[in-house]
């Protein structure tokens, strides 16, 4: 068991807290904050897997996932603009 697998397990365990926030979040913006953190954790896991297996193709997957997360957050905030959902 290499050091990278242990780090990947630590990232998975810490991202459970953000998953709890996504489930119980009172407003839509709380859920977006949790989603933004989970995207960064998944990119970190992808990069760690690329270095562990010594395959460069996982880095492309990580970059595309980062771009998709950024664009999806911008699109959802554009969609929520001017709506009062929490009252």
């Amino acid at each position: 068991m290499s050091i990278f697998i242990i780090v990947i397990l630590c990232f998975l365990i810490t991202s459970l807290f953000s998953l709890i926030r996504i489930i119980i979040g009172p407003t839509a913006q709380d859920r977006l904050v949790g989603l933004n953190l989970i995207v960064s954790q998944v990119v970190a896991i992808m990069v760690l897997a690329a270095v562990d297996f010594n395959r460069a193709i996982y880095l492309d997957v990580a970059l595309v996932y980062a771009i998709l997360g950024f664009v999806s957050i911008i699109a959802i905030t554009k969609y929520l603009k001017g709506k009062r959902l929490h009252e």
Partner: protein, 107 residues
Amino acid sequence: MKFIVYIFLFLSIFFAFFGNIGILRFPDVYTRLQASSKCAITSLLSLFIALIILKGFSFISVRILVIGIFFLLTGPVASHAIGRSAYEGGILPWRKMRQKKNISRDR
């Protein structure tokens, strides 16, 4: 050289753990946003520094550098978009003593 890599990996796990604790424990959207955006970028960049030191100058480390620069550019933009959406949606900032609604409405 191995020791520096272990220090940066530990620092990355430390920042990720406390960012997630902060996102679970803070009382408001804006405070959660502060904890999330800072801890995500510091955790990711210290992890990337550790892996670049481990790999040296190679094909993988240049791509890791590109992903790091991308996150450094787009992380604050996404956080700002979420905060602006929350402010325009009418979410009040959290205070220790809740302000009375009549006063804020008359003002």
